[in-house]
């Protein structure tokens, strides 16, 4: 049996991504079969020179922050401050189907690589620009990392404990979530191009991406001016709905009870069936107004138990529960390993390192297996000599002049 082709086989992508959001986007496209050429410039490096480094030892090929969002790509290092470097970049773009970038607004244009210029090189290009605030509007020139985007979008204002200050969501959430929307948009644009021959310009604002998860808050505010409150892990309809400490250090279990039947089951599992008879707890409405009393009682029980025992017993009784996993536990989770989510591509310098792959399977298997991230400039020869057909002597000259480096 032959392996079916990947969805993006035959598609080439020029990747001008910075930090996480667009590199993450291009990585997903690489996993889906596209040939992604990451175009790097030595004095503009971001995650390559930032921690975490393997064993905390710095080095351009040792950063996990880089290697986990650039797997399956090729690396071509050009000096984009040199006109000859830009000329090579243009040659790469001319043979690419897609260009993705998230430099500050105006940077690509200043290098002569804005949409209009690129369209002249490649009329059917799909060109994606992502910015913290997008490419239009009064704040378009402001740079923003995830923290800024959390705090501008209002997400931080609905994240935090009751009566306490706003908090920043973990996981550099705005970057990767924006990346997901970018991947979706690019796949749609490529489908449209396959049907019509037409490329297009795509623009994404990360702050707007975050606002897409706040419909209730936006609606309430625009109806009557009410701002949302911070409620910790609690829920307006489900109770208990929180994380509870378990045996050991930094171990928590998440429990979410939807109805009274589930609460009775929880009380049974906890060995305190009287909870279900207590007028403070027996019905959802009553439980909602007595959470401050109920939660410590539940934690008294969970504190003596292992996380996995609580989860297993509650799930067996039909109560939604799950472990609160830290990053290392995610990568070691037997269930996600069994589903193929955790992959460990072997990197020539730092060795095999576990990472997350696809959140879905296709017909029971991972759609593709990631290859390790490229070394700095690893594919210069392949891209410039083989793809662009630049002769060897010329390649050497460009190397010596620091155009390729």
């Amino acid at each position: 049996m032959t392996t079916p082709p990947l969805p993006l086989e035959g598609i080439r992508i020029a990747d001008f991504g910075q930090i996480i959001a667009v590199p993450y986007t291009a990585q997903m496209l690489a996993w889906l079969g596209a040939e992604v050429i990451l175009i790097e410039t030595e004095d503009r490096l971001t995650t390559r020179v930032w921690p975490p480094f393997a064993e905390a030892e710095p080095g351009v090929n040792r950063s996990g922050g880089f290697n986990l969002v650039n797997s399956s790509k090729m690396s071509c290092t050009l000096n984009l401050r040199d006109p000859e470097g830009v000329a090579l970049a243009k040659q790469i773009i001319a043979v690419s189907d897609v260009l993705v970038e998230n430099y500050s607004s105006g940077t690509m244009e200043r290098m002569g690589l804005g949409y209009a210029a690129v369209q002249a090189l490649r009329p059917d290009v799909v060109y994606l620009s992502l910015g913290a605030f997008g490419r239009t509007g009064p704040m378009k020139d402001l740079v923003g990392f995830h923290s800024v985007i959390n705090l501008f979008s209002g997400l931080a204002s609905v994240t935090g404990h009751k009566g306490s200050h706003p908090r920043i969501m973990g996981g550099l959430f705005p970057d990767a979530f924006s990346g997901c929307y970018c991947v979706l948009a690019l796949l749609e644009a490529l489908y449209h191009r396959a049907n019509t021959g037409e490329g297009q310009y795509i623009e994404v604002a990360m702050t707007e991406v975050l606002a897409t998860i706040l419909p209730e808050a936006v609606m309430k505010y625009t109806l009557d001016g009410t701002e949302p409150e911070r409620v910790g892990n609690r829920h307006q309809e489900k109770v208990p709905h929180n994380v509870f400490r378990c045996l050991g250090d930094e171990n928590w279990v998440a429990i979410s009870v939807e109805d009274d039947a589930q609460f009775r089951a929880l009380a049974q599992v906890a060995g305190i069936p009287e909870w279900a008879e207590d007028p403070r707890f027996s019905a959802t409405e009553a439980r909602l107004s007595h959470q401050d009393e109920l939660e410590p009682l539940i934690e008294q029980w969970t504190l003596g138990c292992k996380v996995e025992d609580v989860v297993e017993k509650l799930q067996a009784a039909g109560v939604p529960a799950g472990p609160v996993l830290d990053s290392a536990q995610v990568l070691a989770d037997p269930h996600m390993i069994q589903r193929g989510f955790v992959q460990s591509p072997d990197h020539p310098i730092v060795g095999p390192r576990p990472m997350g792959a696809f959140s879905w399977t296709v017909d029971g298997g991972q759609p593709a297996i990631p290859r390790s991230a490229p070394l700095f400039g690893e594919h210069n020869k392949k891209v410039i000599q083989e793809l662009l057909q630049v002769p060897g002597e010329e390649f050497e000259r460009l190397m010596q002049n620091g155009v390729i480096r």
């Binding site: 079916p4 905390a56 290697n67 009064p138 997901c180 930094e250 109560v319 290392a328 959140s359 879905w360």
Partner: protein, 410 residues
């Protein structure tokens, strides 16, 4: 209705059972409709969970006007069918046979119970792409587990990682992991489900055959945490500790009238920040000489910066900083974001109107595609609004056949 958009001409059938309140299946289908596909939402005669959830424009519960329902189901048509009844079941199967996508957002046991796996459905429709979004996926040790947003955010690693970089946790042993008061995992899984769907469509263009996509909400959460996973993978650092902050300042600090974002990661930003902070004598210290050093020595730097921010309002700091190209500004509430000049000028919010003429807004679409732009094609359907229309149009059902499907068409 003639639709435009990248996915115009494709049919999507959505069946989501939302007892657990997950938004993923509905959002996934909506995104396909946003791209121009003809999306039909199948509901039981009792109606979708979110019809009962609000917020309601007039404050009075109205199943056709719940804010969450309106948001999750715009750009769809609605069919009400009792798929537990023989007539409803047969009509549902006929709809599946003519669809390009079947989007299922349920617990895994429901998928098994209704025999909705592609294996069963592909005989009548080999091109069908089945997209299943469940809390833990359809395979693996924990596939039978129940779950919702809290469970997915927790078991996917995001709760533990929150508060996130560079938010300080004084005692990681006692401060509980945190979720946001949103349906974050559902939206994450919904967008990824749509990604997987269009990827499968591109494959189908080459092979002619559909496939079964099995998406796990737990993994949809873990999949957006490459940076935190990298820390675990590369030097065993746990989240919520300063050693994973990377480069600083990249944070928010209290100021006179709230909170202000202070971001000066690049050295040029840092130098400018020190200028607007009146060049304090600590500005040139070796321990603050680079973003990495400033992260390493954040314990010392934070109180120094705090002294400066607390002497100003957020607006004062923002103005000084932005004049010098440093991205600082006051932290916004949801309302301040909605009312900001930036959001208004970009026209991001969509104007809506309730049944009593109440005006309100909902978030629009965050991606602008020049050639295949997002449009608000139609508002969310009333329960069963398009039952006869869709069964007639997709299946050629006559009025007599309609009366057998178990639901009275409106």
């Amino acid at each position: 209705m003639l639709r435009e958009g990248a996915l115009a001409g494709l049919k999507v059938l959505e069946l989501t059972d939302q007892v657990s309140g997950q938004v993923a299946g509905s959002f996934c289908a909506r995104l396909l409709g946003d791209a121009g596909a003809d999306v039909v939402k199948v509901e039981s005669p009792q109606g979708d969970h979110y019809r009962k959830s609000g917020p309601y424009p007039g404050g009075v519960p109205d199943p056709d006007c719940s804010g969450m329902f309106l948001y999750l189901n715009s750009n769809k048509r609605g069919v009400a069918l009792d798929i537990e009844s023989p007539g409803g079941r047969a009509a549902f199967q006929d709809l599946v046979a003519t669809s390009d996508f079947l989007v299922l957002g349920q617990n895994s046991s429901e998928v098994q119970r209704f025999g909705l796996s592609r294996e069963r459905l592909s005989e009548s429709n080999p091109g069908l792409i089945v997209v299943t979004i469940t809390p833990f996926g359809l395979t693996g040790f924990n596939s039978a587990y129940l779950g919702d947003d809290l469970i997915a955010i927790s078991s996917g690693g995001m709760a533990y990682a929150t508060p996130g970089i560079p938010d300080r946790v004084e005692d990681p042993g006692r401060e509980p992991p945190l979720r946001s008061n949103t349906h974050m995992a559902g939206y994450l899984a919904g967008v990824q489900g749509a990604m997987a769907s269009v990827a499968a469509l591109l494959s189908r263009s080459m092979t002619g055959t559909g496939c079964e996509i099995d998406l796990s909400m737990q993994e949809a959460v873990a999949a957006v945490m490459p940076f935190e996973l990298a820390h675990a993978s590369y030097h065993e650092a746990k989240p919520r500790r300063p050693e994973i902050f990377g480069v600083m300042p990249n944070t928010y600090l209290p100021c006179q009238d709230g909170y202000v974002v202070v971001m000066a990661v690049m050295d040029a930003h840092w130098r400018n920040l020190m200028v607007i902070a009146d060049n304090p004598d600590w500005a040139e210290l070796e321990v603050f000489s680079s973003g990495v050093e400033r992260a390493r020595n954040w314990d010392a730097l934070e109180p120094l910066l705090l002294e400066w921010t607390m002497a100003h309002t957020g607006a004062e700091i923002a103005q000084l900083a932005q004049e010098r190209g440093i991205p600082c500004f006051p932290a916004y509430t949801v309302g301040q974001m909605v009312d900001s000049a930036h959001v208004i000028e970009r026209g991001f919010m969509v104007d809506m109107e309730g049944p009593g003429g109440q005006k309100f807004k909902l978030p629009g679409y965050p991606v602008r595609l020049e050639r295949t732009p997002w449009k608000f094609f139609r508002p969310a359907p009333k329960l069963g609004e398009h039952t006869s229309e869709v069964l007639g149009e997709w299946l050629g059902y006559s009025d007599a056949q309609l009366s057998t499907v178990g639901v009275e068409a409106r």
